[in-house]
């Protein structure tokens, strides 16, 4: 292996480790390696400045990031965009396929609800199942309770929940029930099916220990 390739490899390795050299979490060997490389690498020195700027950025705490008005605006825009598309007549076969897809998704979501719900909070009745398959929004506000595994996980999880509902609906309010437990109140326009999809996604995350849909 040539010296250039060796130094190139060293550069990439040091470059990748820089964020954790800066936050002081590298082990002694890695720290020594990065410091040795930094001494003669202007690119990594420049990158270090960028990373310090990232670390010092005054990003509001994640708990304050839920911009309900912005989320609602996005939802309404999407509804406006999607409703005309759905009203356009489609070939019969396409309609059947679409209906089957919705039914399959509803069944999947229903399964996730069964798996994740807290029994007294989500009475799964025939009537509720019909809501899952309906395209009309629910008239009742939904609440989603999520318990994360750790404070750090809740940090990441909160972003995920917020992001999912920015895509699929809206959080109108949220409440911190404990260090790692949050309750999100969802807009009445959010269908239980959309919530069940998010629950399904959360259920495969190691960060979440419990998630439940509460229908009031």
């Amino acid at each position: 292996m040539s010296d250039d390739r060796v130094s190139g490899f060293d550069h990439h390795r040091a470059h990748a480790l820089l964020p954790w050299w800066i936050n002081g979490t590298l082990d002694a060997d890695e720290r020594s390696f990065v410091e040795q490389h930094l001494h003669g690498c202007a690119l990594c020195q420049d990158e270090s400045e960028l990373i310090r700027g990232m670390n010092e950025a005054d990003v509001p705490h994640l708990e304050t990031r839920a911009d309900v008005n912005a989320a609602l605006t996005r939802v309404f825009e999407r509804i406006d965009q999607e409703i005309p598309d759905q009203s356009v007549s489609r070939p019969a076969r396409g309609s059947n396929v679409s209906w089957l897809s919705v039914a399959a998704a509803a069944l999947l979501g229903f399964g996730a609800l069964l798996f994740l719900r807290q029994a007294p909070e989500v009475p799964l009745s025939t009537g509720e199942y019909s809501v899952l398959t309906s395209s009309s929004p629910s008239t009742n506000a939904l609440q989603l309770e999520v318990q994360f595994n750790s404070s750090a996980a809740s940090l990441v999880g909160f972003v995920h929940v917020e992001s999912k509902f920015a895509e699929q609906g809206s959080i109108t309010a949220w409440e911190k029930l404990g260090d790692m437990t949050y309750r999100y109140t969802l807009s009445a326009s959010v269908s239980p099916l959309a919530v069940s999809r998010v629950l399904e996604q959360l259920s495969v995350s190691d960060s979440v220990s419990k998630a439940a849909l509460v229908v009031e």
Binding site: A16, L50, S150, D206
Partner: protein, 72 residues
């Protein structure tokens, strides 16, 4: 809010998570455990987050002046 703060909010959720957890002082291995992915994936996400931030902020690699850094 600084330009950097605004730029970070434009990153994807996965990238934001890695950036924010690093800023909070977590090691690469801890972040890998928290977000449930391999350590190398954490490094890759951080790499792409930095590239994306440079693009958003209009910074090219190695061209960051002190004035730009101070402004960011």
């Amino acid at each position: 809010m600084s330009r950097m703060s605004a730029a970070i909010k434009h990153l994807s959720v996965d990238h934001q998570a890695v950036v924010r957890l690093t800023a909070l002082g977590h090691s690469c291995s801890e972040i890998a455990e928290i977000v449930g992915c391999p350590r190398n994936t954490v490094k890759t996400r951080m790499f792409h987050a930095r590239l994306r931030l440079r693009k958003i902020l209009g910074l090219t690699v190695g061209s960051q002046t002190k004035e730009q850094r101070d402004h960011v």
